[in-house]
């Protein structure tokens, strides 16, 4: 392998990992909701879009850095998620319907409403937050003069990746160490047993939906410095989150992280070695392959014996 080929490969892997980290954060929100409520939230990408518009407004009107706007956008999305769960999804869950998955259809509707509201308020133009550091990067040759290859690490991408890691770590801490986190996991594992143990299942569901929304909201704030924004952007990210959720195993948080990274790296590798036009094809190949070969998701490979159902 020549140094040029090595450089291309390494640079591709770097991009893939950075992208994968962000994908993971988008996926975790969906998988969390999936685990606790057993429904796929197809308004997931649209919630991310809402958070991005919040970040955009904060940036353009108050000059608040998109990364700092997580502190505002995430709580707003948490409340939005709670409201959606409490007043829209819960009532539908209780109704006996002809179609069993009517909550899923409801989330599609919510997504459409959100996208259209955004179109009315902000028009369908593209928006960006042109930050100063948008094209800043670190270069290997700046630190190691004799380096035979040149690698670059984009600053906003790396910051986004690191923040995504911090948020994921905080989530892990919350789910494993706190009382409420344990209750959420209990609800996810067995709703009836949790109910018998005195867990307020109804409340856990509401909190989980809020948490999932807040997570994808922060992912939105991490995305906006490196991407751009328009009202119909939700769909493509819902799709990505969906693929990650299936790949990682429905409801598994660690699975979502691994799934996100795999998807990111796989997409980058297809872009480099098969052509960028093939990247979306690669995404669905992974999706189909996961459904056929590892129907339980990646995590099922690690757990020999699955407890519960």
């Amino acid at each position: 392998m020549t140094s040029v080929q090595l450089e291309v490969l390494l640079q591709t892997l770097i991009s893939g990992l950075l992208l994968g980290g962000l994908y993971a954060l988008i996926g975790i929100g969906m998988t969390l909701i999936m685990g606790v409520m057993k429904i796929i939230n197809l308004a997931h990408g649209e919630l991310m879009m809402v958070a991005m518009y919040i970040a955009y407004v904060l940036f353009s009107s108050f000059h608040i850095d998109p990364y700092l706007s997580i502190l505002i956008a995430a709580p707003v999305l948490f409340i939005l998620g709670i409201l959606i769960q409490k007043y829209l999804i819960n009532p539908v869950l209780k109704v006996e319907a002809i179609i069993p998955e009517n909550q899923v259809i409801l989330t599609v509707g919510i997504g459409m409403v959100l996208a259209n509201i955004a179109t009315i308020i902000f028009s369908s133009d593209y928006k960006t937050t042109p930050v100063e550091y948008a094209t800043k990067a670190w270069y290997l040759s700046d630190y190691w003069k004799a380096s035979p290859i040149e690698l670059s690490l984009s600053m906003p991408w790396s910051v986004s990746f690191c923040v995504a890691l911090i948020i994921t770590a905080a989530l892990w801490f919350f789910l494993t160490k706190t009382d409420m986190g344990k209750s959420i996991r209990a609800t996810a594992q067995d709703k009836d047993a949790a109910l018998l143990m005195g867990v307020n299942v109804e409340r856990m569901r509401v909190v989980t939906f809020g948490l999932g929304s807040a997570l994808v909201g922060s992912a939105g704030c991490l995305f906006i410095p490196i991407y751009y924004l328009y009202p119909d952007l939700g769909g493509q990210f819902t799709l990505i989150a969906f693929v990650i959720t299936i790949l990682g195993g429905l409801g598994s948080t660690i699975g979502a992280i691994v799934g996100g990274l795999i998807l990111g790296v796989f997409e980058s590798l297809t872009s480099t070695y098969a052509g960028m036009g093939w990247a979306p094809v690669g995404r669905f190949m992974i999706f189909v392959a996961a459904l056929i070969f590892v129907p339980g998701g990646i995590m099922s490979l690690f757990k020999r014996r699955r407890l519960g159902k």
Binding site: E7, Q11, A134, S154, Y228, E267, T272, G275, A279
Partner: protein
Amino acid sequence: MKRLSLISLLVFVLSLFTSSLFAADTFDLVIPLPLTGKQAKFGEMMKKSYEMAAEEINAKGGVKKSKLVLSFEDSGAKPETARAIVEKLIDTKKQPLIVGEYTSACAKAVAAVAEERKTPYLVVASADDDITQKNYKYVFRQNAVNAHYADGLVEFMKNVVKPKTIAILYESSAFGTSGADAMEKDAQKTGVKVILKEKYEAGSVDFKPLLSKVKAAQPDVIYMVSYVMDASLLMKQIKELRIDAKLFAGGAAGFAIPEFIDNAKDAAENVVTASLWCFKMKQPGAKEYAEKYKKLYGDYPSYHGVSAYSALYVVKDALERAKSWTPDGIRDALKATNISTAFGPIKFENKEGYQNQNFMETIVLQVIKGEHECVYPDSIASKKYVFPIPTWRERR
């Protein structure tokens, strides 16, 4: 009572008389345009420009002392609607000349109707090649065709950059593919080797894998056919990866509009793009039109606007020379057109398999100090081009 009715009858007859008298002193022109739907933005810009031109012409005494009266019909960028509008205009309103439309699909529909009914049609901003390749006698086009869109840029590369290799990146749509194919042909004609030709999905987040491959191939020129957001992301990530080529070139669209510079910021610096028109170029009337438009509507128009604006001057010129204001009279006058407008010189020729096509020089824009400047051809340049361009490392 009887007297009263007599007077009213008199008034009625008189008013009839005067109104018919006035009618002789106006030239009514109904223009089909997309004013709703996705293309409404361009339709709106063209409508404003037509109105500006009509106002100017009327203020200077109109066309042969007749006032030019414009009205607009919304086609919503739907070929069926455009066709119906034009059929009505020719069959019932007996309008001897059709001007307008924007999308190529609509222009094709209108051209077919106009040719069938032997009424001249002036195409203003539709670029699909085959509109003027069908041996139509009554269809005229003043804007450049797709195949010649990048001519100016190709000339610029041949005479200034002299590259040996080129990499072509394009979005996987009809627009991107046709632009990339045209450039590939042009490159082969001028002896430039295409070492990479890759498409991408519009709206992608991360172009770096693709760009690393481009970097490894080390092309002299990187040519990209993209809409605005992909264009800015591409340039930003090219800067991030420090890919140094002799020239970064865009195939109009996303690269030629101010939003590209707003979004890509310093990564946009020195990028060149093909374009049809720029208000900064040395073309008499161009700057005046653009400034007036900006004063009235708050932003600078693109070539769509100036083409519409100039179209009315072409019409005025043809009407003044026409022996009679009949379809055939106006057609013959249009055929002999040879005037200079704010859009550029306009002359309808039959060559290279096109009929009644205006062959205008397409230009090259370069982003210099955060603004689009017209740099090529030299005769109309507003600034000297920057070449060779500094490497990314030098730019800090």
